[in-house]
Amino acid sequence: MRSFSTARVLLFALGVIVLASFLPLGVSGYILGLLTIAYYFGVFAMSWDLLFGFAGEVNFGPTFLIGTGAYAAGILDNLYQLPIWICLVAGALAAVIGGVVLALPALRVRGPYFGLTTLVAVLMLQNFIVVAAGLTGGEIGLVVPDVISVSDTTNYEIALWFMAISGAILFSLSRSPVGLILQASGQDAVQAGALGFNVTKHKLAAFIISAFFSGLAGALMVFYLGTASVGTLVDITVGVQIIIAAVLGGRRTILGAVLGAIFLIAMSEALRPLGDLSNFVVFAIALIVVLLFPNGLLGLLTGTKENI
């Protein structure tokens, strides 16, 4: 990865995105639907990678941020029928507030202890959704009256370009001076402080950025699916899938997370005939890939490229 300049990587990625935007001409609505979900998952995984891979924060609960954004947007639409774009902005803002709340323990406790607080945060959100069923739809789920579009193609293009823009921003950030400072803060906070960097400020910024994209993606997904439910957006299994996608794609690469997400969703679909066993097989395969190729799918791809 390092050997390619930021601009060249982005240019190459743009090419791939443009090609992908022609997909609706050739594939079924069903596949477009799967890819739409995969793209939102990609944004979740990229946001997670920024926080873990760069700021070094072990966040086991990416769904806390996603769920906060998704439900805030969904509830606002459900209660007040506000325009969708206002609900989206509100969802992203709610997630940012969630990110700041999550950052508070992160700045005091380290590693596994912080990881534990993130898990607890997810459980608390889940509990709240179930208890406040009048507001959130509880275990049945929240139905939103509006959707962005009923066209598969439109939804697909929105997800694709949203992912492209988020990816470009997160990737550029990770390669920028700020990204370097963030890595230093994650690897050795004492040293970073002695070099004059306000570690708290930089980590807080990472939380806010990660939360913003997670929340916005969560909210968009609600208006694509027309519903929000614990099982699709908040559950710990969903969080684990996001983490696997990011690690599978290649940690600390941001863009790898997208590959991981697409791979994971494609695998689940391909193995659907296995029924209940499919999830097991998907996770097993993911585990093997992670063990055999610690640099992930992206490492694998760029590795072969460098040999040519």
């Binding site: 001076p177 370097l180 890595q183 002695a194 004059g196």
Partner: protein, 492 residues
């Protein structure tokens, strides 16, 4: 105001406690612009802690720290850094995932969230700084692949990149060759002549004395002497607690060792490659039972590679025999359990475990009585470890960690003890103690010792025989008395 007017750094009444331990007590010092103050003292006397307190990495319990007249005690370290202070840590701590270039570049970046594009001239400045400290050739490498001296250079490069007016340098010379030490000294002189205030800690007394304008000596957290280098080195207390006496020599002729079957250790025509690079080339050495052998060589000559090969960590061609029996095929664990114990250069301690737990782990195969006996002997040897028994190994001072590493190796009751640069970061007085300990080992037990050193003033007195390793090859073998005349240039 008197002399202290315009002082860049002024410290008064500085105190720090760790639990019941008073690590720094009522320290006062001042360093003017364009001055180097040397801070010396035995291991664990609080030198690094003073630096961390000034830099805001530890919070002082009491006292004042003024930089250019501004009170900064208790501030977070990034603010103190912005007031113009910079530190070179005792242990190198580079970012391992980044290249040398990025490590230096980091230090040049402003603390701004909005700076998404670095100024193009930053890259120029990285190159200029790298050239100044001698890192130009390795800018694209990652720290893990670099020799020790280059890692120290990265630390210096980072510190000067921020252009600090007050520079705290903790043991810059530890582990460096005399050539590198001279180059570093020159660099530090230049920094002073630029008008910076420099606080310098090192156990290399000669180099410190040559460099500094004044010296302050510490002992258990307090100042015990201050003045010119000459005055302080002559001070009675300083001599007793820090400098110690001279190290004595007593080589025994090789013919006095009678092996029953074959030499205890025989390395025969061993070659080792790291990828394409040859790290050892046809190296042959031997150690008789009870003999003390030193391998002298500069950084990167291949000492650590040689020891790691003997310990079974690296693949090699050639043969390694112990009392005639080949070690090929044995695992590192078996080799160690059978009595060839290496004391690594990297201080591979269990940092979250206490001193006592680290020692117990070293002696886990001994019977409880033997274990207690051995620990008692080691506490005798290194009294400070006795006092620090319950402390986590990671919070020990640099020299204390070094002592613990050696002690843990000795807990295994080795037949052959391999010591890789044991003197790194040790105060002269501890060197003397270690020296006496080795002498006692030599007289009271059948242990053999293989000692790797670039510090020949330590390596020679403890050797019955000396090898010189240069560029992966043994270039000289002989008695220590002949070393100075035949192989000494470049080491003495």
């Amino acid at each position: 105001m008197s002399m202290a007017a315009g002082a860049h750094l002024e410290v008064k009444g500085l105190t720090k406690r760790f639990g019941g331990l008073v690590a720094v007590k009522e320290m006062a010092l001042s360093v003017r612009a364009g001055e180097i103050l040397g801070l010396i003292g035995p291991n664990g006397s609080g030198k690094s802690t003073v630096m961390k307190l000034i830099m805001g990495i530890e919070r002082p319990d009491a006292g004042s720290v003024r930089i250019n007249g501004v009170e900064v005690a208790g501030w977070p370290s990034h603010k103190i850094a912005r007031m113009g202070a910079g530190i070179v840590f005792q242990h190198s701590r580079p970012l391992h995932r980044q290249t040398v270039f990025e490590n230096i570049k980091l230090a040049l970046l402003p603390d701004k969230l909005t700076r998404l594009f670095a100024d193009p001239e930053i890259d120029e400045r990285v190159r200029a700084i790298a050239a100044r400290v001698g890192l130009s050739a390795v800018l694209d490498r990652r720290p893990a692949t670099l020799p020790f001296a280059d890692l120290r250079k990265i630390e210096i490069a980072k510190a000067i990149a921020r252009d600090p007016q007050v520079l705290l340098i903790d043991e810059p010379f530890a582990g460096l060759t005399s050539k590198d030490t001279a180059a570093f000294s020159e660099l530090i002189c230049e920094l002073r002549d630029d008008g910076r205030a420099v606080l310098l800690v090192d156990h290399n007394v000669k180099s410190v004395a040559r460099l500094v304008d004044r010296v302050l000596a510490m002992y258990v957290g307090e100042c015990i002497a201050e003045g010119t280098a000459d005055e302080v080195m002559r001070n009675e207390t300083v001599r007793r607690v820090y400098l110690g006496g001279s190290i004595e020599t007593a080589a025994r002729p090789e013919s006095s060792f009678r092996d029953s079957i074959a030499p205890f250790l025989a390395v025969e025509n061993v070659s080792v490659h790291y990828g394409k690079a040859q790290a050892l080339e046809n190296v042959s050495i031997h150690v008789h039972a009870g003999e003390f052998v030193s391998v002298v060589g500069l950084n990167g000559a291949g000492k650590t590679t040689l020891f790691n090969t003997v310990s079974g960590f690296l693949p090699y061609s050639g043969d390694i025999r112990r009392e005639g029996a080949s070690l090929r095929g044995l695992t590192a664990a078996t080799i160690a359990r059978n009595g060839i114990v290496q004391c690594p250069e990297g201080r591979e301690l269990f940092t979250d475990m206490t001193v006592r737990e680290n020692l117990d782990l070293g002696g886990h195969h001994l019977s409880p009585a033997e274990c207690a006996n051995q620990i008692g002997w080691l506490f005798d040897l290194f009294p400070i470890l006795h006092d620090r028994q319950k402390q986590a190994a990671g919070t020990l001072s640099g020299g204390e960690q070094q002592m613990l590493t050696i002690a843990r190796a000795l807990m295994m009751k080795p037949k052959l003890l391999i010591l890789d640069e044991p003197t790194l970061g040790l105060a002269p007085v501890i060197l003397e103690q270690l020296s006496k300990a080795l002498e006692r080992l030599r007289q009271t037990s059948a242990i053999s010792v293989l000692l790797g050193e670039q510090n020949v003033t330590f390596a020679l007195p403890h050797a019955d025989r000396v090898y010189v390793l240069e560029h992966a090859r043994i270039v000289w073998e002989g008695e220590p008395a002949r070393f100075a005349a035949e192989a000494g240039t470049g080491y003495l």
